[in-house]
Amino acid sequence: MSIETFVQHTIFRSPWIHRVLPAFTSALVAFAIGYVFMVTPLERVMGAAQKIFYFHVGSALSAYGAIALVFLSSVMYLVDRKPAWDLMNEAASSIAFLLCSIVLVSGMIWGHSAWNVWFRWEPRLATFLFLWLIVLSCVLLRSVLPDDSRRRTLGAVMGIIAAVNIPIVIFSIKLLARNEQLHPEVVAQQGLQDPRYVTGLLISVAAVACLSVWLFFVRLGNAALRAEVDAHFRRRG
């Protein structure tokens, strides 16, 4: 599929992506915010700061999804060399970077209210710091490579290297002593006793996931448009 076909038929002309997804996402995000702040009860120890949890978890799960998409699109580009995979790779990297940043910042805000410091070498915070740096390097590489097949191929190679290293990062954190593991394991330790907590979490995870998909398509549209403009100027010499 050429870039032009991909842009015309997949992104700009699809009513699902262009109208239904933004409307549905906006409604779901508004509902999630309303539910989390007005329906879920205030947690006894953490108070209002606990509300971060709902969007923090959703962002983390979506970030893993975006990184998986970076890996998939990188492999597919190296296999069949279609520019559409490269555009997906570019868009997914940007969204993964945004989501990792949200997880890192929201984790730090939560950490400040729980531990009175913005950052500590707590395993999960360290994991997302490493992930954030790895995804940042993928995004940065694309901006410093010349805009030709080199950028597409080397961007895909870096995407694979980065994605393969992410399980390594996650595993390495488990090497730390148990007394250094301060991150709350809410779901594993059955901390969500009130069903409203569970409902709030599920709604917010769905809302962040939908928002990520929408942003991914917006970013994909931008990347495709830029590629089309570049191709146009190249044709005109």
Binding site: L78, F130, L133, I134, L136, S137, L140, L141, V144, L145, P146, S149, R150, T153, L154, A156, V157, M158, I160, I161, A162, V164, N165, I168, V169, F171, S172, I173, L175
Partner: protein, 223 residues
């Protein structure tokens, strides 16, 4: 093919003695700087061990980065890789030859940096030298396998000298973390234990780095 690539790497190494000399001087300067800035009287042996190990890893990391970046630059400048590419065939012989030779160089740089820091800090490392040397060898292998691919990858970029560490360091952080723990234990006299999760992690990182490098290297040299 492997023999030809290996000979090419050795010749390239022979011509790059200035680069290796520069890296050794850089490592020495870092060892002096670390000794001046991090030496605090009255610290416990455990704290001294941790500081020594951290300083040594930093020296190894920075010197190795400079060496890998400079050696790929020379490769490009002298078009040394062109022969391997034009010869066709598998991509693993050029990669294997490069990794073996560069691991050797980095191992030597690591030894030099270790002894320099040990003399200047001062902190004795002869107590458990075989373990420390084995650890250095394992560290150099994983470092070079991943670093060779990333230095080749970043050589196409603008500002490649800055881009290479930005691509490389985040991937190395867990590796360095585990190496630091193993290094502090080795300085305390502990032997390498195959049941130690940190050791398993470092070896696994080496294996994954080599496998990953051999998979993606053909795509990198293609560009």
């Amino acid at each position: 093919m492997f023999s030809a690539c290996f000979q090419k790497e050795l010749r390239l190494l022979h011509r790059s003695w200035r680069t290796i000399g520069t890296v050794l001087i850089f490592a020495l300067l870092l060892a002096v700087t670390a000794s001046v800035t991090l030496r605090v009287p009255g610290l416990s042996t455990l704290t001294q061990r941790s500081i020594f190990c951290g300083a040594y890893l930093l020296i190894f990391l920075f010197s190795g980065t400079i060496f890998l970046s400079a050696s790929w630059d020379q490769e490009r400048r002298e078009r040394a890789f062109l022969g391997s590419v034009l010869a066709g065939g598998d991509a693993w012989p050029p990669l294997a030859a490069k990794v073996i030779v560069q691991t050797g160089v980095l191992f030597f740089v690591g030894l030099f940096a270790g002894f320099s820091l040990s003399l200047l800090f001062p902190f004795p490392i002869t107590r458990n030298l075989p373990t420390l040397v084995a650890l250095l060898g394992i560290a150099a292998l994983g470092y070079v396998a991943l670093g060779s691919v990333l230095s080749a990858l970043s050589s196409a970029a603008r500002d490649r000298d800055i881009v290479f560490p930005i691509l490389f360091f985040p991937l190395l952080l867990p590796f360095i973390w585990a190496l630091g723990t193993l290094g502090v234990a080795a300085l305390d006299g502990a032997r390498l234990n195959v049941a130690d999760p940190h050791f398993v992690f470092v070896v696994a990182f080496d294996v994954i780095s080599i496998a990953l490098a051999s998979i993606v290297f053909p795509y990198v040299i293609e560009e």
